[in-house]
Amino acid sequence: MKKAPKTIDDILASYPPHPQNLISLLQDVQTKFNYISTEHLALICDYVGIPVTRAWSVATFYKSFSLEPRGEHEIKVCLGTTCHLKGANRLLEACERALGVAPGGTTPDLYLTLDTVKCVGACAEAPVVMVDQDYLGRASISSLKKQLKRR
């Protein structure tokens, strides 16, 4: 497997300098640095040869990109149909109350980001909450509190 890229230059060098690679570059930067900074956006634009406006529209269009730093840990409440039928929105509200942030927001100490996701494919275990890469099936307010305490 390819070695994980270490710096922004590594990331840039792993794609040919064409505008069509804009999204792949943004994704790698997002994964590596947890968000896309002003500097990195400008570097990507220079590399592929597009004006910043084009990168701006792409970075703000797609949900997986964040222009603000995200938290160390992510809580994703699944709002898929089955999870909705099993009360996911109540679970989300409980998280909002507990953390004091709206979906998409990050706690001021940059520790936790609360987000929503639509379907992780674990519908038999609805409602599902993901804490980083771990799944919490048949989630309830109490089981979620336990998970949060561990981090």
Binding site: M1, H18, P19, Q20, N21, L22, I23, S24, L26, Q27, V48, I50, R54, S57, V58, F61, Y62, K63, S64, F65, L79, G80, T81, T82, C83, H84, L85, G87, R90, E93, A94, R97, V117, K118, C119, V120, G121, A122, C123, A124, E125, A126, V128, Y135, L136, G137, S140, I141, S142
Partner: protein
């Protein structure tokens, strides 16, 4: 790995792999599909590996542990199958592993308590279980059997045999005609005849010589649908092989796998598959010595449901925002970088190798005339047996939900089924209006009743669509007005916002639904909503907007009474819509523990310890916390 230079060498490799197999070797297949993963299947797999290492089982051949893709029976996860004993264990937890290793692997006996049990019967093997018996696994046959990270395992199971046959025996036009005759229709939801689309691309490329591209649509955005995920994670070579064969037929040398960003495991498994296929020379230059060059790359989606639309995928691959384009021109005429492009769903691609292997005639015998082949569904929601199923097209809806799904558990009734995700509709179990004469099955249980056939055209006639395969069962604790509102809200967030009918119309329709779920509005508003829905169907630029009114329009068509109950009687019969329900504590059952009052965010529950507590209905925000924490189920919703 050595590159395979021609078809003969491929057979030699396969024979060698087959010869190295020991049929007596015990194989433990641990399901690492999405459902089981959520239940901790990874730990089960690790437990097996370390148990076998430390146990040192006295056997001629040490057991082999395979972590596979989805076995399908998600509600019974984690699933573990043993061969050649042909044992199927369900609900396996890491703590159970030691017993399985000792009892089944070392002693060859059965762990009775881990067998699937239903209605007093214990089932030793998967084929006997009703959930599996009515299925016909063709696309999913290898999923749950092979190790998706090992191409040798895929080769053993027959991968790339069809590619070999294609490159040595068939011309591109013969492949094209086979796909046309098979009647294969797009499995992503559109149901467009695949062969017809391919033929258009070939004709356009002839008129306009130059590159042709193929794309796999893995942006499986419908909530509740994970068919494509199971294929990409569990049998990635099926997709690769289909695309290489397709590339050959279409004259394409470059393909793209557009995979949803939310599926990192699928991306990982596809990457491994690509690497291994390239190493063996099954991808790249001069495949199997045929002179045909073809390669694939993976592009990740970036969190946009709209990128499940063909022209939006193209925009995304070109590094642009995922805004669809008006059609014509269709991608088969002008697609990626203006060139003829074929975009097919992952499941559609996974069908190709089978059609080539056994022929178009064979394929047409499966399913029904206008909808040939099988279809994979994710059967979820209020159903006893939920998971991934593969059935021939044309199966009756009731058979799917009741025989395979096991029906709705407990007291509630089977009310409706939601198909096709946000672009689909809500179809009732019982309907006063006759559905259609298109395809129907006489009901086994209710004389004179027609049951819906699950095929493209019958589903379209109900006002819904087949869709990608998401099939969500609803019971009478689910409110159709709420579900219609849920889908509109979903689509509003996913709309690209380019065209007015969709951008403004989804918001407008949502305003109507918000009113209804609050018990407001007038009966005429239902007609207005239908009219607005028709404006979106006619005026929207792309399929997202055009299909967006489906859940609303079908729910009005079949459940108008439920809408009227909300608007006129200010009641939510299913007990869901927050403004129309009241929470109360049953004083007979309440044990006075006070947990509800502690956790109530609105501090509106009062009482004394050991005496019945009460909710202040006026202050209650209906968050449901009290019901969730009550240990004796004393909270009532009405």
């Amino acid at each position: 790995m050595k590159k395979i230079k021609n078809a003969a060498e491929l057979q030699v490799l396969r024979q060698r792999l087959l010869a190295a197999q020991d049929p007596e070797q015990p194989v433990v297949r641990v399901c690492l599909g999405p459902g089981c993963l959520a239940l901790g299947a990874e730990k089960v797999g690790q437990a097996f590996k370390s148990a076998i290492r430390s146990k040192k089982i006295k056997a001629k051949v040490q057991p082999l542990i395979k972590e596979t893709g989805c076995h399908g029976f998600c509600s019974q996860g984690t699933l573990v199958s043993l061969s050649p004993a042909n044992l199927f264990y369900v609900r396996v937890r890491p703590d159970d592993v030691a017993e399985i290793v000792e009892t089944s692997l070392a002693q060859g006996k059965t762990v009775e308590r881990l067998l699937y049990q239903d209605n007093g019967t214990s089932y030793r093997s998967a084929e006997e279980i009703p959930f599996y018996r009515a299925q016909q696994k063709i696309i999913l046959k290898k999923v749950g059997v092979i190790d998706p990270r090992d191409i040798n395992d895929a080769l053993l199971a027959g991968a790339y045999q069809s590619l070999s046959k294609t490159l040595t025996e068939l011309s591109p036009d013969e492949v094209l005609r086979t796909v046309e005759v098979s009647g294969l229709r797009g499995r992503g939801g559109g149901g467009f005849p695949t062969g017809y689309k391919w033929r258009r691309a070939v004709d356009n490329a002839r008129k306009n010589p130059g590159p042709v591209y193929v794309i796999a649509n893995g942006e499986e955005g419908d909530p509740g649908a994970f068919m494509d995920r199971a294929i990409m994670e569990g049998d990635p070579h099926a997709v690769l092989e289909g695309m290489i064969i397709g590339g050959y037929a279409l004259g394409a040398n470059q393909g793209f796998l557009y995979v949803r960003h939310e599926y990192p495991i699928a991306i990982h498994h596809l990457s491994i598959a690509l690497q291994q296929a390239r190493a063996l020379g099954l991808l790249g230059k001069n495949i199997l010595g045929s002179g045909f060059n073809f390669d694939l790359q993976i592009n990740r989606g970036a969190g946009a449901y709209v990128c499940g639309e063909e022209t939006a995928i193209i925009a995304s691959l070109e590094g642009r925002v995922g805004e669809p384009r008006t059609r014509p021109p269709f991608p088969a005429q002008e697609g990626l970088w203006g060139r003829p492009t074929i975009i097919n769903n992952v499941e559609t691609w996974a069908n190709i190798a089978h059609i080539i292997e056994r022929g178009a005639e064979w394929y047409t015998q499966l399913g029904v005339p206008q909808s040939t082949g099988t279809k994979i569904f994710s059967l979820v929601g209020k159903v006893k047996n939920s998971g991934l199923v593969e059935v021939p097209m044309g199966i009756s809806l009731t058979r799917l939900v009741e025989e395979i799904g096991g029906g709705v558990p407990g007291q509630p009734r089977f009310k409706a089924v939601q198909t096709g995700g946000p672009s689909g509709g809500i179809i009732p179990y019982e309907s006063k209006e006759p559905f259609t004469d298109y395809h129907y099955h006489p009901s086994d249980s209710i004389p004179g009743r027609k049951e819906i056939s699950v095929d493209f055209d019958s589903m379209a006639q109900t006002g819904s669509i087949m869709g990608g395969g998401g099939m969500i069962v609803m019971d009478d604790h689910d409110c159709v007005v709420d579900v219609a509102r849920y889908f509109l809200n979903f689509l509003q967030e996913e709309s690209c916002g380019k065209c007015l009918p969709c951008r403004l119309g989804l918001k407008g329709m949502l305003e109507f639904l918000d009113c209804f779920t609050r018990g407001q509005g007038a009966p005429e508003d239902i007609d207005a909503l239908e009219s607005l829905g028709r404006a979106l169907v006619d005026g929207s630029l792309c399929g997202l907007g055009r299909a967006a009114p489906n859940p609303v329009l079908t729910s009005i068509r079949y459940f108008r009474d439920e809408y009227l109950a909300h608007i006129v009687e200010h009641k939510c019969p299913a007990g869901v819509c927050r403004d129309l329900i009241t929470y109360s504590i049953d004083p007979e059952i309440c044990n006075g523990c006070g947990l509800c009052a502690e956790d109530c965010p609105g501090a509106c529950i009062s009482g004394k310890k050991k005496k019945a507590y009460a909710i202040n209905a006026a202050a209650c925000i209906r968050c449901g916390t009290c019901q969730a924490v009550c240990p004796v189920d004393a909270v009532r919703v009405a």
